[in-house]
Symmetry: C2
Subunit: 345 residues, 2 copies
């Protein structure tokens, strides 16, 4: 049995990437029961929803599972910046008949905190993963108190060394191919972000903890390649997006199975932090990286009503269609089957 | 024996990437004699120099070798654009005491043409590779007349399909990790450029000719990973830069063995076409991608005297320090040894 399986108590060297907005407990349960590590994205769940999802997982599997949180610093509200951001979106508000003064400025996502740790303690999730670094030492100690293993993502060798020094049990090497939010937390310079072929072996060389490869892995051959490069396992997200257990929207599913999926970009338009998704009208017209988008997660609220209106008309023009650069593994098959095929090739 | 070896008549599934400015026939000879495909970068060679290098290779190896050319469209001179470009560099001219009016506006690099094909015919190189697509059908027929196999690089699935349809015998899938010039020729949109983990399997799936993986491959594990992803072989450049047979400058060698090599970016400042190199002062201060840099290869001449002056003072601040995102395989060992170790792991 490989090192990753030993550390996490799983059978297959495969983590299902937590993907907020497109999956809940059902996907996590299916993957965990198939022998991988299923993941519940918690960043957008309130306390009640989180409790319900955790209860659902506990009721449906005795296998290890992962709960994922963001641990960004909560930004200070910036009314002038918010106004500039909304100004840049003003033509769209006109187009869709939206009154921008009625849009609430909301936080979008909350970082991991003590109340959440207390809630988790009742469920003792065997694995807790973080994006954007790690929470405070005190919070991390609380998570460890019930024996949870801790995972976080590194996008550079420096971040990997930092995570190891701060107590991560497993490090995800997130190559530039990966979909969704870049885990970068020690740098905001996009040119430091490198492909899996370059990042993975350099992180494997730099740290002693097991390293999990993420970014561009879409099938069993990709898993074999990652293991050949020294990974202890892989984290796969995009390939699961068409599974029936995912809650991926019909618009998002259609994009993933079209030629459009070939063209992704890093964009900060949807949340304020660079994240990889399929090119949309919003990204084309504004440029995927906007200098006026507020910092994470403050960009979210101003785009939300545009997304809702457009989706109501069947359009993904304003939707975050998160996807990695390799959507070729997306298939509408049960997650258990996909998990076995990924790991078994 | 693998398909790539059959098509090219080589023993190992490994092509040494042609790297203009940092190597000549010596590196090509060493790699070819070791069983790989050595490559001679010809884009910056005049007829006499090309003839001499070809004679040198023919005198030192009976094994197959590759000659590489660019096949861009020669741009029309744009005096206003050139003036704007030089204006953006004006502070540096002042700093180094350079009279910009004395800098010749030169083409920098010439595309493959009929005279060059005639010159090649006398030497019958077994393999001819191109960057930026392929030359005209007539020129390609001339190259084929002596039995040469033709290679070109694809950075997208569309480019791979185009190259296969236009007669490439082998396609290099150039992942975003790769150093030097992006081979992109059907698009100038950088967000279409994806990592090796994503690009390689999608191109393998899209074409029937052998596909060679390039970008981020630095050691035997990387070679195994590329083969696991469906590559018929690999093309490795950066790892050869420290070999004694390479002509890599001392400044460039020092950068490759320092922490600086961890931070590369695509830049159009040195030639006008996006190419990956280690971050330099010029790239940091101008931004690596400049809107005023003339099209390839016209940006070259205005930077050349800055490079020369700085290098004369021992500085690489204005030098194109081409490198891929994974310089971890760079070792100052003979190219034959490196070739065997890459292929034999």
């Amino acid at each position: 049995m490989g090192l990753l399986q030993q550390v996490l108590g799983i059978e297959l060297p495969l983590i299902q990437a937590p993907m907020a907005g497109v999956q809940g407990s059902a996907l996590a349960v299916a993957v965990s029961n198939a022998g991988g590590l299923g993941s519940l994205p918690c960043a957008m769940l309130g306390a009640e929803a989180l409790r319900a999802e955790l209860a659902s997982i506990r009721a449906q599997t005795a296998k290890p599972f992962n709960v994922n949180f963001f641990c960004h610093h909560t930004p200070v509200a910036d009314p002038a910046g918010e106004a500039a951001w909304r100004q840049s979106l003003a033509p769209y508000y006109v187009e869709f008949g939206i009154d921008p003064s009625a849009i609430p400025a909301g936080p979008g996502r909350l970082p991991f905190d003590a109340a959440t740790a207390d809630l988790l303690a009742a469920f003792k999730p065997p694995v807790v993963s973080f994006h954007f670094g790690l929470p405070s030492d005190a919070l991390l100690a609380r998570v460890r108190s019930w024996g949870a293993k801790v995972i976080s993502s590194a996008t550079t060798v420096e971040e990997a060394r930092w995570l190891e020094a701060h107590g991560a049990d497993v490090i995800v090497a997130q190559g530039l191919e990966a979909g969704g939010h870049r885990g970068m937390f020690l740098t905001d310079e996009l040119s430091t972000q490198v492909g899996t072929f370059a990042l993975l072996p350099q992180i494997v060389h730099a740290v002693r903890v097991p390293v999990v490869a993420a970014g561009g892995i879409a099938d069993a051959a990709g898993v074999r390649a990652a293991l050949a490069l020294g990974a202890a396992g892989v984290q796969v997200g995009t390939a699961y997006l068409l599974c029936p257990e995912a809650t991926t929207s019909a618009i998002h599913r259609a994009a993933l199975t079209s030629e459009a999926a070939r063209h992704t970009a890093l964009t900060n338009l949807y949340t304020g932090h660079p994240a990889r998704g399929i090119m949309t009208r919003l990204m084309r017209e504004q440029g995927p990286l906007s200098a006026v988008a507020p910092v994470f997660p403050l960009a979210t609220s101003a785009v939300a009503p545009l997304r809702a209106k457009a989706e109501g008309m069947g359009s993904g023009d304003f939707s975050p269609l998160w996807a990695g650069q390799n959507a070729s593994g997306c298939r509408a098959v049960p997650a258990a089957q996909l998990t076995r095929e990924l790991a078994g090739g």
